[in-house]
Symmetry: C2
Subunit: 322 residues, 2 copies
């Protein structure tokens, strides 16, 4: 068994480690990571979310280097939820809610901040040839943004507010602008607006204006205070979509939800194949995403940069080819 | 102007007062209250909810004693939301979410714990002759229970948990049992089960069993802790319907909603005409409701009795005819 480099998270500590290259079990393939994106959830893991210990990385594109002939050599992305196959959710094909699930790079399964990883064949999706690695590595977060449209009809007259102006917010804005032209984005600082330069969104900084003004509010600030702001911003009969995961509790006035018949909708992973198709039709302007790519050896610095309020998308290239 | 008796709430204090009989404005009728139900919301008002000061009472049946000929002498119930007529919600016919609304007996409008009250003609609904006063006075809470079906499809395979075993819980159980046969009710004590004696519900007392077990959880305990229990009880992809209003904040783990894609749905007033029709088809067993009727003079005692965990439905008969 050969060694490989990997970034290792251990309850807040990061280190570069030499691990044994994983070996595919029955039904699995061995993947060599081409590119892996750093996501807000990775930063939350570092702050204790999900008590994760291991190799993170759940946004990635990789080559199949060991597996059945029809996959061998192909460039792939993958669904990150690993189901037990037996529970009520797996039986219904909702593996993302398997009661015993592992989640690549987030929960009990090693992720893509490593040279190699193993995944079930059933999770793989072939990447269209005309999609760049950077775009393909965005399939997972784009799917998460598209999940909103799987859960909710967004009428073309809807007034939408996105709370947070991070990388996820930007993808959500792109997805929602395909449905309605009225999308405002609320940021804590001005630092991120340059990444929204090509998008016709209303740019709001600091305090919320417009109480009870929005039909749909998407909370993706990564911050418990975002939900309080969302509740003040949403109209009666409106919907708050929750996208942030963090390791803290939030105080809410549940009676306010009752009196105003507001809906809170938790939203997580989305449809990967639809995301790939969407990316082919809606290429992301790379200069706007302002992506930066780092080697694994530079991973600690990459995570630091990703944490900064003004950072664009940061990628790790475990093969070092970038 | 003649005097009339009324119960008066003043931030926690109740008194019997002699007030001036109200005079109908343009478009309004004068009603003489036949029967008014005491509701959990009335008890919450006494504990400071909505900072209400005035005459409560929003579940009632009354006679039209002054107004246009086609209403005069008729026995009616009424929608309790009074809209401004001008705002975006009123224009859409969603007067219950009018931005400047008054709510009879709850917010800035005098209610039915009085001999007389005035209401807009537009809010009236004629009571079918074969519906008793007790049943007609239940139209408002039955409408609130039916509102769940206006907002949510309840499949016949759904496993439902109702948290709370109060008067509202009992109506919600009756309504949901028309959709699915699997309804459990979670009570804090055994005292209320006799009111569920005719209903095929699972009776759970004390601690929740069955984590992540229910497709739909209805929280109507009137207690902030109910939401915490609801979140533990609901399945991934499930729905929590919020029915309780109270004057306190609740701590929630919003990330849990995200990861499990749970929906929180605030639910308030419902369709009054549908409620009247439903009551005609589904008479409530009065011996099970164990209703007690009091005069206004006995109102303080009636509210005290209604507060007790084992109390059935309490009514006030301001005309004293009961």
């Amino acid at each position: 068994v050969s060694p490989m480099n990997a970034l290792w998270f251990d309850l807040g500590n990061i280190s570069l480690r030499q691990l044994q290259q994983p070996q595919p079990a029955k039904g699995e393939v061995l993947l060599r990571t081409r590119l892996a994106g750093i996501c807000g959830t990775d930063l939350a893991l570092l702050e204790g979310y999900s008590q994760f210990k291991g190799v993170p990385g759940h946004e990635f594109v990789a080559d199949v280097v060991e597996g059945p002939a029809h996959w061998l050599g192909r460039r792939v992305v993958a669904g990150i939820n690993l189901g037990c196959g037996d529970c009520d959710f797996c039986v219904q094909g909702r593996v993302e809610h398997c009661r015993e699930r592992q989640v690549v790079g987030i929960r009990q399964a090693q992720g893509a901040f490593a040279e190699y990883l193993c995944l079930p064949e059933a999770n793989l999706l072939a990447v269209p040839a005309d999609l760049s690695d950077e775009h393909a590595a965005m399939a997972e977060p784009v799917a998460a943004a598209l999940q909103i449209l799987e859960q909710l009809v967004v009428p073309e007259t809807a007034r939408v507010l996105i709370i947070g102006a991070g990388r996820m917010a930007q993808l959500i804005a792109r997805v929602l602008l395909t449905q309605t032209s009225t999308v405002d984005v609320l940021a804590r600082t001005d630092q991120r607006w340059r990444y929204f330069a090509d998008l016709p969104v209303g740019q709001l900084t600091g305090e919320l204006q417009g109480l009870q003004h929005y039909d749909i509010v998407v909370e993706c600030s990564g911050n418990p205070a975002g939900l309080t702001t969302a509740m003040a911003a949403v109209k009666p009969l409106g919907v708050i979509v929750l996208k942030s995961t963090y390791g803290a509790q939030t105080k809410i006035d549940a009676s306010y939800l009752v009196v105003n018949e507001v809906t809170l909708l938790g939203s997580r992973c989305g449809p990967m194949q639809i995301a790939l198709d969407w990316l082919v039709r809606n290429p992301l302007p790379v200069e706007i995403l302002a992506s930066q790519t780092f080697t694994l050896q530079d991973g600690v610095r990459a995570l630091d940069i990703a944490k900064g309020a003004g950072a664009g998308k940061c990628f790790l290239a475990p093969g070092g080819a970038y």
